[in-house]
Symmetry: C2
Subunit: 212 residues, 2 copies
Amino acid sequence: MSTIELNKRQEQILQIVKENGPITGEHIADRLNLTRATLRPDLAILTMSGFLEARPRVGYFFTGKTGTQLLADKLKKLQVKDFQSIPVVIHENVSVYDAICTMFLEDVGTLFVVDDHSILTGVLSRKDLLRASIGKQELPSIPVHIIMTRMPNITVCRKEDFIMDVAKHLIEKQIDALPVIKDTDKGFEVVGRITKTNMTKLLVSLSENEII
Amino acid sequence: MSTIELNKRQEQILQIVKENGPITGEHIADRLNLTRATLRPDLAILTMSGFLEARPRVGYFFTGKTGTQLLADKLKKLQVKDFQSIPVVIHENVSVYDAICTMFLEDVGTLFVVDDHSILTGVLSRKDLLRASIGKQELPSIPVHIIMTRMPNITVCRKEDFIMDVAKHLIEKQIDALPVIKDTDKGFEVVGRITKTNMTKLLVSLSENEII
């Protein structure tokens, strides 16, 4: 999306609605000595961009939202599906040693653990693996399902979830990544991964004026 | 900071400057049938918030910046010192085993390693410790300076650096945290820590309209 740059007529409409709203399109047109049809594109832009709201049989009114508030509103509407990464999954019978190797090979901080039906059963973070590695047991002989964080203690999200809710979960639960899942008859199928790295990238994109 | 909500007179001034700028404060006042003194607070707000710029002996002109662009500009000006966390440091002769324990006790993802003069000599991530833990050596007998990432291969930042530059370093170099340092005669003293968690928190604050 590009930035909202209002033209002179749109600023005038905004001013009229601020002072007189709710006001019908016809009345706005009268005040500007223009036809309703001429104004249609401007009114469309102002409502789509959130400056005005329109109610049937009432008219247009000013939402009272400034550019910054609108940005916060738009941030709140961003969805997981537009920012998620590819997940790395391993089978629950894989050894802790092999899981650590997979983590290095794939260069990720979190692995998702699945059963024979590719259904999510657990999550392995670097922290989980590090904890196991200072234990007394032999890493090649312990399967990951012994040490993983398991269902139902896993926070998941779905493609349509809001990215800001995920960001809050990451902070509150002090975790690095959430699995993005799809609901199936057998359980959760892992379709993505969303991390603090995705959040950092989103922040940089905002400062580059690329997102909203 | 609060959001930018312009009042009617400020919107009028903006409109006048848009159409006639550069224009002096006196000329704006004339057009509004007001005195220069009456307008002073409004002009101050409009220049401070970035909508207008003032040049001596030229007058006011419109910057052409909308709310969203201004937000991106402000994001770019945020500094490390306002978002950094407390660093956790260990001595370079501490064992890898003890470093892992410290990481769990302090609940951080990155440790900074210092010498006898409290000068930064290395960085230890969970990844570094995990790599060491699958090696053949005994963790309680290896000092961290054997396995740490060492100077000059450490990316550092300073309190006055821009947070967005740090965010870009974290992404490009694929690291979780940077030490915030102070320059001394002997080298870098560690004064803070800035992480992807700080970036995620900043993002949430933006969506809550708390920062800018």
